[in-house]
Amino acid sequence: MTRHRVRLVLLALAVAASACQTDGMRWRREDVITITSPGLREAVEMPVLVTWEPSPDLADQIAQDPGGILYGIFVDRAPIGRGAQLADVVGRNCSGRGGCMDEESLRDRGIHVSAIPQLLLADLDDLRRRGDPDGRDVHAVTIVVLRRGDDREDGGLALERADETSYRVEFVVEREEEA
């Protein structure tokens, strides 16, 4: 490869790199949320209570803006990316369904929104056959902080992921063998 070509490649890479959005990127892990239960890979029984603690800073923000900051809990699915809205997941064209940013529509997609640091998962799919060939029912919960934006025209909630930190826990559901 000639020196000229190498310079061109490096220039292209530099341009590509400069196109990346760097603001809001986290280079260190921040414990804004600490998941308190269940523990990592803990064996649990249904229903599963997921609890977490916000950091003092986050707790202050929530106290100052009640309803403006919420928790988004994503069960067995990837969360939305930083800056994305929940509406991106359910689809923006919700006419005819009376608005689809309701709790039920989100829950159907493995998404829960909570104002308090806990969530009871009463119903989880049995993943033993689908996910883990060795017969364990492993589930993953990812929690992110959501910020409420202006109300949307369709009446739904404009909830946007606030930053790129996320908190994940995997646990194993022990089920009684079906007869």
């Binding site: 490869m1 490096l10 760097t22 280079w27 890979r41 930083r82 364990r136 992921r161 996320s166």
Partner: protein, 712 residues
């Protein structure tokens, strides 16, 4: 000479001191290449370890990161093939190595800024492509830089460095994540910075040129002294020519199969082992990567030991290391199968470590003998093809199969079943071992012949225009030519005679490049052309007129002539000049210039075919069955044309069944029977060999009787 050269090439029995030999070649090159090999996995390991974290940040599913790792593997092998191709023609391997390392390090840094899953995939693919230089170019560079006597240890050291890549990457990722509190972006920044820091030390790498140590030793072996003239410029093959040349080697074909089976064994093992550590022992994220790193540590020592063994035990015997590698693969398969089934953490870890250590020794044990029997320029291609076969053919197949097994019987059972491809790969390696020996002999014969011709030329001695030596050729499993020696001098007209099916036309195909020999060498004007494409041979001056009517029937005479010209010369004016010269010499073709070739008589069609010689002006013209089916008067006219072509300086090989026709125009004749040259001498002497000619006459007489019966 052979035993001498073999001893030199495969390393003399006396063991050289590694320190002194490395200093002679410059310790920097070894250090730099090992350093690059040791840190080239940082990005991959970081993404493997932190995939779920990255996914949570970017809103991408777990599948995205499996795809990113797969994209990296595809990029890696495309890069290997590309770099191997670039590095064939010029000694720029060191420059490629150093600069591509800067690129993959920079891309590691860039990955930390990714804002989407697709950006991570793109960065991984590009970095994989750049990393192709590591596997394709490092070992050939080491071979060309250092003394043959320490090659085993060099391979061992480099493989140890490569085996340390996972532990080093696991340590960097583990420290940055656990101790440093870095996010996945922070971990990738650390990896990128570490990587850039190390690759900066490789900037002063210099390419030593192709095969200097091998050439010096072979020169010594040919003449018994190393003070002869340097071996001249070798023929540089294109990528496709190299691939064809390699796949003609029985040992390479056998090793391709072995690598494919190794891929079925190794690639799924690497992929499923992480899942196994998770499911059986609850190790996730960085924890399982650190466990993987710890398991790789014994492989470092094993690779070093394999290198020492190669230098101590294997000199002069290129098959033995491959046979040893076969045993190592079987051990690896057994250790992994038992380890997976036991599922007791310390025992499983210990057995997996044994498996990984056994795998680590396989590569130096196979690659050193293999690369020894391959010409220096072609070594990167050989490595690229083998690794690509292993990963993309064997590996992908293995992943699909093992995925199915996993779903049926679980991951432990799936890992245990890997013993099947391991044993098959072991068997394939055992079969390849003896083939390497015979391919080494073939290489030495070719090199010695090449060297002899170059020495003659350097000394101003006359060398033949064409020299075919020891040619074997087979159509699939049916061997047609057996150890054929055939020589044509400059300006000479030679007859190649023989019965039907004797191999005359096949020999012409081998000379013109339409068929490649399974053994032996061809030199044209002193340059080796054994594996050159037919097109390049035409450019070099070898033109064949095939048997039958070698014209394009629907095209006019003029169009036929233009096709000959434009096929190999884009200069329109030169083509038109050639056509004018043809029409000047062959007025009958001028009269028929606008007629379709199909409407010409048999003699005119042959005349048109011969006109190729006027357009292309070859140094060597190969004419197959000129007189077939033509009246004697026409044959006489055509022979007159051939005489004129020959008189203008073109050497001619005339393949004929008609002894009378052939011997009337040549002084030198060859006679072939059942794929062998039975006579090589003056044409007049052949006429005195009724034992040979009888078969032709008898065949001719039988054909005549058959014709007569048909007429009646």
């Amino acid at each position: 000479m052979n035993s001498e050269a073999r001893r030199f090439l495969t390393g003399p029995a006396e063991r050289g001191g590694v320190g002194e030999a490395v200093r002679r070649g410059g310790a920097y090159g070894l250090f730099a290449l090992c350093a690059l090999a040791a840190i080239h996995q940082l990005q991959v390991v970081a993404v493997l370890a932190l995939g779920p974290e990255i996914g949570s940040t970017l809103g991408a599913g777990a599948g995205t990161f499996s795809f990113a790792v797969a994209a990296h593997a595809v990029g890696l092998h495309l890069g290997m093939l590309r770099f191997a191709t670039i590095a064939e023609s010029q000694p720029i391997r060191a420059a490629i190595t150093a600069r591509s390392a800067v690129i993959w390090s920079f891309l590691t840094l860039v990955t930390s800024f990714a804002s989407s899953g697709s950006a991570v995939i793109a960065a991984m693919f590009a970095a994989g492509f750049a990393r192709g230089s590591v596997k394709a170019l490092h070992l050939p560079l080491l071979m060309d830089t250092y003394d043959v006597r320490i090659r085993g240890r060099l391979f061992g050291m480099w493989t140890a460095a490569e085996a340390s890549a996972i532990p080093i990457a696991a340590a960097v990722v583990g420290v940055a994540w656990s101790t440093g509190g870095a996010s996945w972006r922070g971990v990738l920044v650390v990896c990128g910075v570490v990587s850039l820091g190390v690759v900066a030390t490789a900037e002063r790498l210099r390419d030593p040129g192709f095969g200097a140590p091998d050439h010096a030793l072979l020169r010594a072996a040919v003449d018994g002294g190393a003070d002869g003239p340097a071996i001249g410029e070798e023929t540089i093959l294109g990528a496709a020519e190299v691939r064809r040349r390699l796949t003609l080697m029985p040992s390479f074909r056998a090793l391709l199969l072995a690598y494919g089976l190794l891929g079925v064994f190794l690639i799924p093992f690497n992929a499923f082992m992480l899942a196994y550590l998770d499911r059986r022992f609850g190790l996730i994220l960085v924890g399982r990567v650190v466990a993987l790193g710890l398991m790789w540590i014994p492989a470092i020592g094993a690779a070093l030991a394999a290198g020492r063994w190669l230098d101590r035990e294997a000199p002069g015997d290129v098959g033995r290391p491959i046979a040893m590698a076969a045993k190592a693969v079987a051990v690896a398969g057994a250790a992994i199968a038992v380890g997976a089934l036991v599922a007791v953490r310390p025992i499983t870890f210990a057995l997996f470590s044994v498996g990984l250590a056994s795998i680590a020794v396989v590569f130096p044990l196979v690659q050193l003998p293999l690369l020894t029997i391959i010409q220096p320029r072609q070594r990167p291609q050989a490595l690229a093809i083998l690794h690509t076969t292993m990963t993309l053919a064997g590996g992908l197949g293995g992943l699909v199969i093992l995925g199915g097994v996993d779903r049926r019987i679980g991951i432990a059972g799936a890992l245990a079943t890997l013993i099947v491809p391991a044993l098959l790969a072991s068997r394939a390696l055992s079969k390849a071992a003896p083939l390497v020996e015979s391919d080494l002999d073939n290489l030495l014969l070719d090199v010695a012949e090449d060297e002899r011709l170059k020495r003659h030329r350097a000394a101003g001695e006359r060398i033949p225009l064409l020299r075919c030596q020891g040619i074997n050729f087979a159509y699939d499993q049916v061997q047609v030519l057996f150890d054929v020696d055939f020589t044509v001098d400059d300006g000479e007209m030679v007859a190649l005679l023989g019965t039907n099916g004797a191999g005359k036309s096949t020999l012409l195909r081998v000379i013109s490049g339409l068929g490649l020999p399974s053994r032996g060498s061809l030199h044209f004007r002193g340059e080796e052309i054994t594996y050159l494409d037919a097109e390049r041979r035409v450019e070099a001056g070898v033109v064949q007129i095939p048997g039958g009517r070698a014209v394009f029937p629907p095209l006019s005479v003029l169009e036929n002539l233009r096709v000959y010209g434009f096929a190999f010369d884009r200069d329109k004016k030169a083509v038109e000049r050639g056509i004018e010269a043809t029409f000047g010499a062959l007025p009958r073709l001028y009269e028929r210039r606008n007629q379709p070739a199909a409407t010409l008589s048999g003699g005119e069609q042959q005349m048109l075919a011969l006109a190729k010689a006027f357009i292309l002006r070859p140094r060597l013209l190969l004419i197959d069955e000129l007189s077939l089916g033509l009246a004697p008067v026409i044959v006489g006219e055509l022979l007159e044309m051939v005489r004129r072509i020959n008189a203008s300086g073109t050497a001619v090989v005339l393949v004929e069944q008609s002894v009378n026709v052939a011997l009337s125009v040549v002084d030198h004749a060859y006679f072939m029977e059942r794929g062998q040259i039975r006579f090589d001498g003056k044409a007049s002497d052949l006429l005195g060999r009724p034992d040979l000619l009888r078969s032709v006459f008898l065949e001719g007489a039988q054909a005549g009787r058959a014709q007569a019966r048909a007429g009646a």
